[in-house]
Subunit: 342 residues, 3 copies
Amino acid sequence: MQFTIQEIAKLVNGQVDGGTATVITGIAKIEDAGPGELSFISNPKYAKFLDTTQASAVLVNKDFPATQKTVIRTENAYVAFLTVLRTFYPDNDSLHPGIHPSAVIEEYSLIDDDCAIGPFVYIGKNCTIGGGTRIHPGVVIGENVTIGEDTILYPNVTIREHVTIGNNVIIHNGTVVGSDGFGFAREGDIYHKIPQVGTVVIEDNVEIGSNCSIDRATLGETRIKKGVKLDNLIQVAHNVVIGENTVIAAQSGISGSTKVGKAVVMGGQVGIAGHIDIGDNVTIGAQSGVSKGLRADQVYFGYPARPIMQAKREEAAMRRLPELIKRVAELERMIKEMKDGG
Amino acid sequence: MQFTIQEIAKLVNGQVDGGTATVITGIAKIEDAGPGELSFISNPKYAKFLDTTQASAVLVNKDFPATQKTVIRTENAYVAFLTVLRTFYPDNDSLHPGIHPSAVIEEYSLIDDDCAIGPFVYIGKNCTIGGGTRIHPGVVIGENVTIGEDTILYPNVTIREHVTIGNNVIIHNGTVVGSDGFGFAREGDIYHKIPQVGTVVIEDNVEIGSNCSIDRATLGETRIKKGVKLDNLIQVAHNVVIGENTVIAAQSGISGSTKVGKAVVMGGQVGIAGHIDIGDNVTIGAQSGVSKGLRADQVYFGYPARPIMQAKREEAAMRRLPELIKRVAELERMIKEMKDGG
Amino acid sequence: MQFTIQEIAKLVNGQVDGGTATVITGIAKIEDAGPGELSFISNPKYAKFLDTTQASAVLVNKDFPATQKTVIRTENAYVAFLTVLRTFYPDNDSLHPGIHPSAVIEEYSLIDDDCAIGPFVYIGKNCTIGGGTRIHPGVVIGENVTIGEDTILYPNVTIREHVTIGNNVIIHNGTVVGSDGFGFAREGDIYHKIPQVGTVVIEDNVEIGSNCSIDRATLGETRIKKGVKLDNLIQVAHNVVIGENTVIAAQSGISGSTKVGKAVVMGGQVGIAGHIDIGDNVTIGAQSGVSKGLRADQVYFGYPARPIMQAKREEAAMRRLPELIKRVAELERMIKEMKDGG
């Protein structure tokens, strides 16, 4: 596929500074791009590569400084880059509508004609699956599951019984939705299993990475709201609610019954205790340990998590502690001397 | 399904304070329950919901304070709640005894007639599987595996060759039992693989969450003893032994050859070094990092893990460190002044 | 299988101190070995077991102190132990060359005659798989995947489209290679998915544990170089490069675009930020959090990671902090007294 710079500018509603006739045949990162390739600079950190890049044109934000390179100025260079990316690399899923003969589908399940069901897929009874949805090889879906339209389940995903999944959801390989929550009643040293009879609801436009575990509720539901994006290897315990458009990086874990607000951003390997509330628009730094509720609109960091300015101040103080111990010993020596001398 | 309050009291061997004739049609959490529903209060933290709950009756412990709500007093409200839960939601596994025609079972394997083997299950040769055990779709079992009675393997579990699994074991989706331990012999910069020729033994009444990795031993065995409960995404390295009735929360990891005692409780994201002993009845707080053996019956916390009172004291001291640095500078100034003045 | 001590000494090019005729019928750890078994001591920590072991012979390093037990002295006791282990326990994979009739292989894929393809394996179109490679039950391979010779994919592994895997690679159960990187462009509160159109390259002699997630690049490639060994439940984000012979313990995670050098050693549960460089031969202690690049040949530890001597010094100082606060209060009291008294 190839386009002129002019054509790309039109595609992204941008303005060209420089030549418009050059033909673009591919897309690459700014530090890797060669002649004939288009790149982009969204993060100013990467502006330094503009002088040395071999790219034939670079997508930049409207207010990007003047330059001798050919640039295409747009409202949001990253979103423009996405548009071009989707044009150069259209979604070519190899799984086409239809049901592979090896798939096993139990009775009373309603599969839209426009669904694609791959080899070795198992679908339990009483399921409903919407049009445009693609179920890749090796996926197992329990009974009474509802899945919306244009959703993708990648190979070896498991959806357990009674789970509900919305439209335009993407779930990557090996992820499990609806395994039993971790609930036991202790009697002496013995733990009795508490039946986990609730469910999981995954709303529209959610994406979940690979090898995640999303547990079903004890009673009621675990809910992942619209537009949430989860990275890989994430733990979501029973009865957790994750608010709209929240983004969580890999290997983080959220304990039972915790409510996470809207538009929260969590780094990787964060741990959140159970039965607490995380406010809207909270940001939590990587590897933080959160044991108490967090107020909205703040940035937190550390183990235990605290407001980031406080965490940074304490961390800097920590650096000075070995020297401080020496200074205190010196003060003690001086005072002893003064007293003795006095 | 529905029962009167009287019938439920009888079921849990409890005493009713209030009306006994009301019909109960469901179960819900105390904060969610509506008319006609039964709830429970086990943790005193939830007692505050009693005034506002719409539940028609609430299971409480014997010594719960007097109240105008209808309550059913029992020895252990949580265990009573479990009993009722199992009555309202009997285990209705959709997988029935018999072998699905798509399953592949190699020669010399003995499968009890009362087993349920789902679609796309693979069972290697020389396996023995006891009565009442259910092997869900997509499970792969290597050769020479022994599985007891009434055990459940959920979809897409893998049990590798020569592993032994007891009775009444539950293993959730995506979990791997018996992958190779992480063992290499370094020669210069090259690592040679050490064949992992040991095995894994999972004893009776163990439950393992989804997407866990339980490695086989280098020599000998990795052993998970009776009644152990593991949450999701847990790492158990080669030659680890986990003692009876120990409970470990999600995303924790135990390094090679470590012995964990009985009735230990670990929070989530705990990391334990290799070749150490964790005593019986130890409690370890979430995200702790344990690099040395821990004595029995103590509570530990932190990175590195230390007795919790010490950890809390140091954490509180840490909060005061930035101010302490200022105080020491002030002392230095004062002493200089006194000396100069003197 | 059985050998005399003499035969074993010959096999490992070692020298016997003691009787050579005893027959060895098995191998065990030094603390477990019984009569007729061979053991080894490589780590001096285990030398204490020599007095009490029941082993009939023990492999030791050349310079091991004189002893009355029968020992076989070799250049490297651990490598010798490996050689014996492989002789006693030859690789007996139950999966033999040939394609199981239940496997589904799409058109234009080239599978070497010497490959073993197990039940319920799916292979997309345009794949190439080399001789001696074994694809275990339940593995799913997307289209345009290339896999070299003598590679093993264990049950329920997923290899996504366009991924390249070298020779002598081992990938354990449930691991996913090529799931989408975690890339979104934010526009207000909405996150737009950035198509992940790059790939993953796994070079020769790499071993990857179970339930790992290795993401494909946004553009370009994620690359795991020759001889790298990854433990279980590890996250490798998009565009990461891991240098030759690097070893990473379980549950560690590496964020996007980070370059890890050669012969790096990472403990378990380490987290590494994105877009940084980790130098060659770096060692990183377990549970460390690395937010900035690390210089080659150093040992780092802690959260945040810092040179280990500094981390240990600060940790020791931390232990003394509660007492230091008291000492500073005492100094303040004394100075006040001196001033008041003066």
